[in-house]
Symmetry: C2
Subunit: 372 residues, 2 copies
């Protein structure tokens, strides 16, 4: 076994191969030397190529273990032209959903063998997304997932991505780009129908910000459900997902004695609405029923516990990764431009009930009996 570079030999000898004390510092050649094979054979073993004799494989494996060999991802990336990492553009928000999706994506990516790099954007404007995408590209990610952006941003993403695979999840989609989303229309319809079925003559709606497609779709679902039931369609009360605007709109709703049912586009909005109603002395659900959207765990402990439409954020995250992986797969011929729609589910808790006048009397508030 002859090495050309004495320096390299010396180095290899007095760490990895020699003393074996520092971890992850030995290279392929060290392993090869120890196993008495060439480094190409080590490579073959690592990458599971056929045509390597079983006892050789065992020797190599043993050498790798003994030297605590870890392959150098940079060298690997250089030659394969694949970085093995995916980029996530995350929206910096205290919202419950985006976070859950981030972790779900990472978990799924890891089990698919991909690293995940994040770039956060503080504001959902075009420039931020472009910057973040650029930053990620500089790391030569193989694909991009943008979490919960507005549709204008999806456009920006499509532009920034260039020939890179890209997916949006949970927010603004655009025709140019694949996306995984909740079926917001169905979810809103579910919530609205639930309230109508309870006997309310109509349902008011506190919406999300009007430049979010999710907000718009929830408005649509709500409106369709009302129309289908022949119920009057009140004016939308615009919010911005936050408890604060929920509170403001809640005050207006509380002032109107005709209001008996409210569907909020997010649980946080509902939190604000509940507070406003409470402070105005309107009881929930006796006087007014409230339904939220998101199904956050906290909702179970609002006053009263909130009926809500649950989104499975984790599943959404996994789906978006699936979409991205499909685009990355060279076997997949069709240019994947799919939209993956996930149907949400209604969780019934105490904040929604039949209106007081309808005969069916409410059972009194019994603490734990109805907690879902």
């Amino acid at each position: 076994m002859i090495e050309r570079s004495g320096g390299a030999r010396a180095r290899a000898a007095n760490r990895g191969a020699g003393t074996g004390r520092s971890t992850g510092r030995s290279i392929m050649r060290d392993v090869a030397a120890r196993a008495g094979v060439s480094s190409q054979t080590v490579s073959r073993v690592i990458n599971g190529h056929p045509y390597v004799a079983d006892d050789t494989r065992q020797r190599v494996l043993a050498a790798m273990r003994e030297l605590d060999y870890q392959r150098n991802p940079a060298a690997r990336a250089l030659v394969t032209r694949r970085s093995g990492t995916l980029g996530i553009i995350g929206y910096e928000s205290p919202l419950y959903g985006p976070t859950s999706m981030l972790y779900a994506i990472e978990g799924a990516a890891r089990s698919a063998g991909y690293f995940v790099s994040v770039a956060s954007v503080r504001h959902l404007d075009r420039r931020s997304v472009l910057d973040a995408a650029d930053w990620l590209r500089r790391q030569s990610v193989e694909g991009l997932i943008a979490i919960a952006p507005k549709p204008a941003m999806a456009g920006a993403l499509a532009e920034a991505a260039g020939e890179l695979a890209a997916v949006t999840v949970g927010g603004g989609c655009s025709d140019e780009i694949a996306s995984a989303q909740i079926d917001n229309v169905t979810g809103a319809r579910l919530a609205t129908r639930h309230l109508l079925d309870l006997g309310h003559t109509t349902v008011h709606h506190v919406s999300g910000p009007d430049d979010w497609p999710e907000a718009e779709e929830r408005i649509r679902g709500w409106r369709e459900a009302l129309r289908a039931a022949g119920a009057p369609v009140p004016a939308v009360l615009p919010g911005d997902w936050s408890a604060s605007t929920g509170y403001q709109q809640g005050e207006r709703l509380a002032a109107d004695p005709d209001v008996t049912a409210v569907f909020c586009a997010s649980d946080q909005l509902a939190l604000g609405v509940l507070r406003a109603l409470h402070e105005a002395g309107r009881r929930v659900p006796e006087d007014v029923s409230v339904v939220g959207f998101d199904g956050t765990p906290d909702g179970a402990h609002f006053l009263p516990p909130l009926t809500s439409v649950r989104q499975d954020f984790a599943e959404l995250g996994r789906r978006s990764l699936g979409l991205l992986l499909a685009q990355l797969d060279p076997a997949e011929q069709t240019p994947v431009r799919r939209r993956d729609l996930l149907v949400p589910e209604l969780i019934s808790r105490r904040s929604a009930a039949a209106p007081c006048g309808t005969g069916r009397p409410l059972r009194a508030l019994r603490p734990a009996s109805l907690i879902g």
Copy 2:
């Protein structure tokens, strides 16, 4: 300009250098050729080395722009032995704090020129942390930040990190590892003192899980404040940060008519407590005052709005990055094993007030007048 490999020349010609149509695909040699210099000079320009004539620099810069050159991070990492990325181990929780920290860290890292890679752990056990750290090391990150782990995990982290720089933030620390944290003791003292100052004879405490140091420290601060005031120290009611356990403990508190003040180790616990008190017919703050810990935005809309101890999670994230960067800096000689303590701040809202018997009568609940 002679190239040894005809194949390489052809390839370079019909993309980057030639047509210039595909983005980010040209390499240094293309730029060098276009600028009429050698690739080493291009390297010098990029890395800001001195001794390059100004007009040469301009030519190179122009060529880079025209070719939309992006340097290959893999090749760079290979030769510099630096990946330029940091690893974050994130705890998969719907908690407000960890998320804010994650994004804050990423933002700060990006402006320091580092990429950020995440690995999430679903459960806070030793094995998960080891796995996550290992996964990150395989990507050859230069440093590790673990968000909000338990102390046992900090130990695991220290082990997993090996000679890698590592920091924990917002959670379990250990002597082996630097960490940025909230001063929980002071925060808890603040909350307790606030309640005592309002006239309560003592303060009850619903704690976090007992294997979290933050929970333990908050207990300590609470206890010290009580002792300092000569107030009796009731038994701790253990929780796990969640609204659910807050609710359970709240039911117990509600059953005891002597309880007039409760300090909860998290806002979510407080949410559950508030609900339990409400359902038991105990008014907040007339009968019982409640203070939380975290200062989540939602707390402002609880019923009633929650007095809480606000942690500046973003700042915490930035500090942890600072600690890590200090370890990475070769100029820094001292083995940095610091603990960075951040003092939290009390936000006073309506959920805490003087006890009813103390003379100072409460102003009636006026909706928006007291919102902080």
